[in-house]
Symmetry: C2
DNA sequence: TTTACAAAGTCGTACGTACAAGAAAATCTT
DNA sequence: AAGATTTTCTTGTACGTACGACTTTGTAAA
């Protein structure tokens, strides 16, 4: 038996249960130190020790000459938790990331949480800086979009210290493999598969794919893209898989497309890593006098605002965006408020990307 | 003389001065309770009381069996200052707002501040909620984009309480007229003027303008638009000024454009409140078989990513976006760090929008 | 009835003792 | 010399007393 608990701790726990059970309602007066001492057969000093710790925690209020009182819940809450949640994303301003942040913000605000925002600009050093800044104040939880998830995790120590401090956090879009944390992401491999299957079904055989490979999302989309070719028995020209990273000049994929379109047996279809890439590729094709979708079909990814704004409304794959942000917030709040880490803690939620048919793909006869 | 200070308080102050003066350096061991007791002719209990309060404050660390130690400065500092700045915007995810936030975030991070984000969704009730949440924790400053600035300010009391608390804040894009606060904004009237002048110079005479009128930006752009017509002596058909608010269905301006394009003497040019509106209008025109810019020239506003992604690259007016966010952060930090409110405190910074010529405007012969 | 004062209750301060628990140094044993 | 044990130091827990400061309440005087 661990009956080694000090008496003042036992008393503290007893008083806590009184408060919790409502035996002592907020604002009511607690029996005097002497009464408690007699009741529990303790010395008044010991009772004082228990009281003073509870007062330090903000649960009791002692007034000289009057007595000791239970603080009102509202007052307690205030001093208790900051109820602030941090989000670390790669980019704040670009593309679909604002939508994710917005979804999370809306959910958090409605639940009375505040949102601390930081972005890494896809730079691992800045990621470290962000984490340090975030953790310098007590946080209730963190939502993180990993930076360059395909290139390892030099900030592992931060994540480990978060786990050891029992600070709830979860990841979106991708997660570092070394960590077992809940993660919300799009089924990227399935997305690449769906897109390629669709183009193949439309009769396309020479399909070029553009993939960003410094994060796992691009790698997984590429996997699905290749898988679709394999299962259809279509040989995949190595020239038709274009990979790039953000550190290189952004012009690279565009230049590559120029070469491909200028060649003799040019591709009839194109799958872009995301809409942000699909649009400039589309414009490049049109500049070269290649009509879209007449001579070149295009499928994008993420169903961003750009897909609709483009000259030819883009056929693309959905990304949950706001919903993902909202769900991330919901799950994090659940983790915070139930406190007890349940077994499904490291659960991964995979969103299935769906094809949105617009006007940028044509069926080959 | 108020020599009525309790002994343990006197001891506390003495120890504090020891720490401050360096007599007790961080990490060093404090004389044991018994030593102190003897030195000061106090009982050990009294010494313990002083120690335990200092421990509670985070200045000392007591280890059973080893002794009492002065905590390192770094550990103490942590609990010191929040250095957090809040931003309240109308929208997080849409359009140019993410760019503003990003600019501010980059600047703040590099200066060691954290960013608390909230959005109002252009709803004044949510604005109040945001302000309440923001102010529930000590903030160093606030950047606010007013919600529906043309429709009064029901949350005035919040702003007044901020001013009375000497909490620095500034506004971007627009400011509530009743408040005298620094404000960074685009010279919207000048923008409307520039756009209309440009179209007139290109030979257009029947120009339709679309303006969002629930915030002052739209109203001011409209002013400039009308001013250009007046100065050029061109009568402005009332039908050619279309106003709308976000609360109405977004379809309204599109429907209006349909009517105008179907009429006999349809406009030859169009000025849109911003690019986000210009793009759907452009697409609407093209759907109706009206070529852009051949039959209809279009000028947008804000030089957003949409302007380049559109089927026809949009001629538009610049908006500082990131730079505005960065500058807002810089100014706010200056206000915080110098503390003294200088005379140029309520200064307004006006950015001059510049015309970016792309392909959506044609010169009439 | 109102006012002034006293009494009794509360928590705050201050001293005392004793022993327990943990850590480190000194000592003893091997 | 190395390891085990004891001693001695530290802080932690627990009890006790006494008195001060403050508030409320009851009582007595005006």
């Amino acid at each position: 038996m661990s009956k080694r608990l000090p008496k003042y701790m036992i008393l503290k726990n007893e008083l806590l249960s009184w408060i919790e059970s409502g035996k002592l309602s907020p604002g009511s007066q607690v029996p005097s130190e002497n009464e408690i001492a007699e009741q529990f057969s303790l010395s008044r000093q010991t009772v004082r020790q228990a009281f003073s710790e509870l007062e330090k925690q903000g649960l009791l209020e002692r007034v000289q000459g009057k007595g000791t009182f239970v603080r009102h819940a509202a007052v307690r809450e205030e001093a208790a938790q900051p109820r602030t949640i941090g989000i670390v994303t790669t980019y704040i301003s670009d593309y679909i990331f604002p939508h994710i942040v917005r979804g999370a913000e809306a959910e958090l605000r409605s639940r009375g949480y505040r949102l601390l925002l930081a972005s890494t600009d896809n730079d691992k050093e800045k990621e470290m800086e962000c984490l340090r800044l975030m953790l310098s104040e007590p946080l209730s939880g963190l939502i993180i979009e990993p930076t360059k998830s395909a290139e390892g995790n030099p900030n592992l120590s931060f994540y480990l210290s978060m786990q050891s401090k029992n600070l709830p956090f979860l990841m979106i879009n991708e997660s570092y493999r070394e960590l077992e944390v809940p993660c919300l992401k799009v089924d990227d491999e399935r997305g690449g598969l769906t897109a390629a299957r669709y183009l193949i079904k439309q009769g396309h055989r020479r399909i070029v794919g553009f993939f960003k490979t410094d994060d796992l999302q691009g790698v997984n989309r590429l996997k699905g893209f290749m898988h679709a070719h394999r299962e259809a028995g279509i040989p995949l020209d190595p020239e038709h898989v274009v990979t790039y990273t953000t550190s290189q000049k952004d012009k690279l994929p565009v230049k590559k497309l120029r070469e491909l379109l200028a060649s003799t047996d040019r591709p009839t279809a194109l799958f872009a890593y995301n809409d942000a890439l699909a649009v400039p590729l589309l414009n490049t094709a049109r500049e070269m006098g290649v009509s879209v979708p007449g001579e070149l079909s295009i499928v994008g990814f993420d169903d961003s605002a750009l897909a609709l704004a483009a000259g030819v409304p883009l056929t693309t794959l959905t990304h949950p965006k706001e919903e993902m942000g909202r769900e991330a917030a919901r799950r994090l709040i659940a983790m915070i408020e139930q406190e007890e880490r349940s077994s499904d803690d490291t659960e991964e939620l995979l969103y299935l990307p769906e094809l949105v048919e617009r006007s940028s793909v044509v069926q080959l006869t």
